[in-house]
């Protein structure tokens, strides 16, 4: 995602969740988010069968 688009995303999510993101923190928040999203996409790219249960299965 382009940096300005990611900034828009940060603003939108921060507003929706009531999270403060001060200007001084923004570069570090964005840098962390870029790393996390890159790693998340690496997991997302891995094909899994539709039937795969998550590890956190609940037992009643």
């Amino acid at each position: 995602m382009a940096a300005d688009k990611l900034d828009d995303y940060i603003d939108a999510v921060a507003t929706a969740m009531g999270l403060p993101v001060e200007d001084a923190w923004r570069p570090a928040v964005r840098a962390n988010l870029e790393v996390s999203l890159r790693l998340a996409r690496m997991v997302d790219e891995f094909p899994l069968p539709d039937e795969t249960e998550p590890a956190s299965v609940y037992s009643a």
């Binding site: 940060i10 921060a14 962390n32 899994l48």
Partner: protein
Amino acid sequence: MTDQSLSAADIAQAVAARKLSALEATEAALARIAKHDSVLNAFTDITADRARAKAKALDAAIAAGQTVGPLAGVPFAVKNLFDVQGLSTRAGSKINRDLPPAARDATLIERMEAAGAVLVGALNMGEYAYDFTGENVHDGPSRNPHDPTRMTGGSSGGSGGAVGGALVPIALGSDTNGSIRVPSSFCGIFGLKPTYGRLSRARSFPFVASFDHLGPLARSAGDLALSYDAMQGLDPDDAACSPRPVEPVVPQLARGIRDLRIAIAGGYFQQNVFPEAVEAVGRIAKALNATRTVEIPEAARARSAAYVITTTEGASLHLDRLRTRPNDFDPAVRDRLIAGAMIPAPYVDKAQKFRRWYREKVLELFKTVDVILAPATPCVAPKLGQVNFTLDGVELPVRANIGIHTQPISFIGLPVVAVPVPLLPMPIGVQIIAAPWREDIALRVAYALEQMGAAAAPSPRGI
């Protein structure tokens, strides 16, 4: 009988045989802490009054002919995310200092003390355990006992420093992504991260419920086993604690390892490592006569999935504190957690589904091997405050890379003993990884390595 080299087993035997009183053992530990902690900064609380009272009660019980436990008179300390009755459980933070004092000890402290151990204090740690360095902006950094200008590793930094510095023979820590194994490696000691669900986490401050483990750090495999055995058993106060029966390891330790199939982790675990880590794994493999290499499938993706689950569960835990007290966090922790709150939920679900796939593949692997060897850290302890290191001509961030070899293992809750290889000038650890619920195998291998002299906790050189 106040030699710092005394092991927990030696102290307990001497106390039970009335060659040493529990109070003498306790006073010796308190004196070592008073002498060296100004350098190590391992302790955030010293519970001297409580420790003396406990020790005197033990000595009275022994004098009255009562049987005492297998850890009688053994001083120990806990990472400050364990509840200690009467202390606020700060978990390395400024914010938690405002909590009321804990009303009751953590389950593992109760079990250690029921076995006769004596709690002498609480230990420094990275804020809210989201850390691999052992540095703390509120309490100052834990310092490495072999070179105080270097990191202890984290987040159980004070646990590594206190045991590596021989202030106490045993400390308890927590390990979500490597926080027992990393300080064990950097401080040159033994650390056990048990199977997920083996030891109760009740009344400890959480971080990532999916991955949080508690366990001991010690100066020998025998002391690890002694404390581990004392802490096992179901606890209804921890929803993730397994109903498995207590499976004592101490009687198994000296069984030998001839029946075990041991392999070295290849691929991902041989990349991004400094020569010291290569040397350490090579020495351990040679001592164990291990020549086979196995590939843990998709380990890089497992590390990525662990990262995503960690940052999102951590964010969920701290959401309200991020809203109300953002300026009271370590800024680096706050900014990671805020970013974690912004990860779309489907990515987290995908990571939990990948976790199940990966677990099944790794369990397949354990049909053909009993033990897998891997580096505990890619490097020896970096300098305090160090931001980058250069590997193969590439500059890499220190913080993000310290845990790359531990994360894919705790991701699926495998039991691991980190064993210290006493390289000079700084030690480094190797992970002895076993199948779920086979702590006995990992500890047997650690014990055998110690007997062979391949693994050993070096005397602290920096204090």
